[in-house]
């Protein structure tokens, strides 16, 4: 297939994925609405029950969601839809890579395409480890909005890589950065829920894990993101050394990678500091994620620097 045709297929798959993400969002939202209407067991009672559950040889760890958080039918449908959308989305990303003859993460559109696929992928695969279906609304909504914004505003036809980008470091550095972003997104979703739940605990919020459990989960996910981000920083420095002759030069993109890294270091410290646990550290996680979004959007679009080759 000629590249243009492959790219057309890719777009078609991406549009289909967006449609199915939207459906998933609707399913999750209906589920949330239904739960808000239903009267739930008071949380304290449930927690005691789960904590004291006798005779369970492998009890869930302290941070596991309470059993009552098990997804309803709407959420199960939502999850199935999100998996389908993700498959379409992955297909679209692969086709895009084939059309361009390289990895599909070399300009703004492709960053968004692959980045959102990674975010959803982290969510879907985390299912193997822990049921995070209560984040479904957040993730499916985020995927719909980001993909929509990216295809409308950033789409460009595939073009070859400029020499500065022709490096296996593009594959490693950028992919690990998107992976980190995926984990940060998940962590931020958890932090948002934690903050909401700290304020109000009615309706569907009651079905969520406790704020402490949410905070623990957010932290674990955030730490993995932080590890990947540290790697991104190091790999970027090595690449810069090859491409520009210095490993660190405070280029705008380097500045923002550093800022994000330091904010998350602050977050990790906050979690270990009396008086900074709880909502304060949750806010820090959100500040970090806001910086990531800012770095991707505003810095890429409006700031001048060596990285300004996004070919938008």
């Amino acid at each position: 297939m000629p590249p243009a045709e492959l790219d057309a297929w890719s777009l078609l798959l991406v549009y289909s994925a967006m449609a199915v993400y939207t459906l998933a969002f609707v399913a999750y939202a209906v589920d949330v609405a239904r739960r808000s209407a239903a009267t739930a067991v008071p949380e304290e009672a449930r927690e005691l029950v789960s904590a004291g559950a006798p005779g369970a040889p492998a009890r869930p760890a302290a941070s596991a969601p309470a059993p009552a958080a098990r997804p309803g039918r709407g959420a199960r449908i939502g999850f199935a839809l999100i998996v389908i959308a993700w498959a379409l989305h992955l297909g679209g990303a692969v086709m895009r890579g084939l059309a361009a003859g390289r990895v599909p993460w070399a300009n703004m559109y492709e960053f968004a395409l692959t980045g959102v696929a990674v975010i959803v992928g982290v969510f879907v695969l985390s299912r193997l480890w822990r049921d995070l279906n209560f984040l479904g609304v957040f993730i499916s909504g985020l995927a719909t909005v980001f993909l929509g914004l990216a295809t409308v505003n950033f789409y460009v036809t595939p073009t070859p890589l400029p020499p500065a980008l022709q490096s296996y470091w593009l594959v490693i550095h950028v992919f690990v950065a998107t992976l980190a972003t995926g984990f940060f997104a998940l962590g931020s979703g958890l932090s948002v829920l934690q903050l909401i739940k700290e304020r109000r605990s009615s309706g569907f919020l009651r079905a969520l894990p406790s704020t402490v459990q949410l905070e623990d989960l957010a932290y674990r996910v955030g730490v993995i993101g932080f590890i990947f981000w540290t790697f991104t920083l190091i790999a970027g420095a090595i690449w810069a050394e090859h491409a520009w002759g210095r490993y660190w030069g405070w280029d705008t993109k380097e500045v923002w990678t550093f800022v994000i890294w330091v904010v998350y270091a602050g977050y990790i410290h906050a979690r270990a500091t009396r008086g900074w646990r709880g909502s304060r550290s949750a806010w820090l996680q959100l500040v970090g994620f806001a910086a990531i979004i800012f770095n991707y959007s505003v810095v890429n679009l409006f700031f001048k620097g060596l990285h300004a080759y996004s070919g938008l």
Partner: protein
Amino acid sequence: MSQSSDPLRPGDHVDGVAAPSQPPLGVRGWARFLWRQLTSMRTAIVLLLLLAVAAIPGSLVPQESSDPNGVIQVRADNPELIWLYDALSLHDVYSSPWFSAIYILLFTSLVGCVVPRLAHHWKAMRAQPPRTPARLSRLVGFQTVPGDASDLDRADRVLRRLGYRTARYGDSVSAERGYLRETGNLLFHLSMLGLLLVIGRGSGFGYDGQRLLVEGRGFANTLSSYDSFSSGQWFDEGSLEPFAVVLDDLQVEYETENRDAIGAPLDFTALVSVTEDGAERDAQIKVNEPLNVAGADLYLISNGYAPRISVRDASGQVVYDQYTPFLAQDDAMTSLGVIKLPDGLEEQLGLRGFFYPTAVPLDTGALASAYPDLANPVLSLQAFAGDLGLDRGVPRSVYALETDEMTQIAGGDSGTDALTLAPGQTIDIPGGLGTITFEDVRRYGVIEVHVDHTQTPVFWITVLLFASLLASLLVPRRRMWVKAAGDRLELAGLARGEDPTLERAVDDLARRLVDEGSAARGDDASAATDAVGATAGEARPAGPTDRPRE
């Protein structure tokens, strides 16, 4: 510190020193108070966030180090703000006093934080696991399994097999594992300190020079060869590596097929001959592949066209004949250049104009370049006669022509067309000054020679940093106790640091004890397993960790 009465917070856990709420009187008291404030975790968080915020202006205002042209531009556009930029070091954010103050404070805090923990960790590594708390039932994962004091040896063995260090206290086993977590944490913080020191000191010995080379030309690595050169404060000219480089050929490849990207650069390769220790060899430099010569790294950082232009006076005498580098202005390599001829002609002559590698006429009649490669090279020059202003002692860029004291004699509003030439063509200079010939055109490359002695140490410290970060974040540090209470064994754990798997670990230990116990006794294993966890769990404390630090 003595044993803590609160089993959730091990008494021997150093978390910096708690800041007293009131400063004791006296200078020493104040000093201690300030030091404790500085080395508290809360200060570390605030300083980290401050550092993040302080780094941002450097991405908004052009920096001397990364974008000198941007600095010139901003100062030219906002002359009334120059004093502010200078007062706040906004063009040198990362070496400014305020940025330095923040990171110096942060690293001071780090040292103050890490040193006591180093000492403490050193002791902990050599000490026995701590005494078993009196009441295990308040700890994480508390449960009982069948067994008595005679089973403690086996428990000890099981724990050691699981990587715990163990000690016996009466009829209990105390176990601890994951010392690597703290080791990693300390190494991580120390390697950041190491990075700062190595970069701060090491970069003082390096240098960075740039040299523009037209194809066929070369240079030797001496100070005078460079067009621009910067070096660290301890740099010694005698340390310049002895080598010479000739740019034989600069190969450039542009996209020709993808309609959306015609003319996009695909590859730049500089083929060079390197002379080192009297031996000559061929080598190449690509954008992502620097060339190492005698410890120096050579990069190809930009390229362009250098038309060879010759000028003859009215009698046909050659007064100028050089490859003159033009600076690319856009993706299609429309290039701007200037030639100054102070001597040789009746009047001083200045030429300024564009070189178009693939010239196409626009509707307006002006020329533009449509493609960056040499498909239809054309040179179009404006000419000025008069005073070039070279002897006024003001330094002038070779790429700028000062025309205040000159009269335009070709191009612009002069009434005469610009001097437009294809390779091989000759044209008369208006006013009978002589002739100009566009002989041919070659490419040039700008080679950067970079020596940075910090590269290797920085790389290895970074490897250490990353490895210790992994250890510090992923290795669980925990204590585990097995205590004989009548005909039962009590089990419980205590996390030191984030340890979400602690409960599972206690469950796992319980299962192993039961399995091994029944294997030893030949009991029915499955019946015993059912008993595991039967008494588990009084109401659990909110967090599974001991931690929040001061």
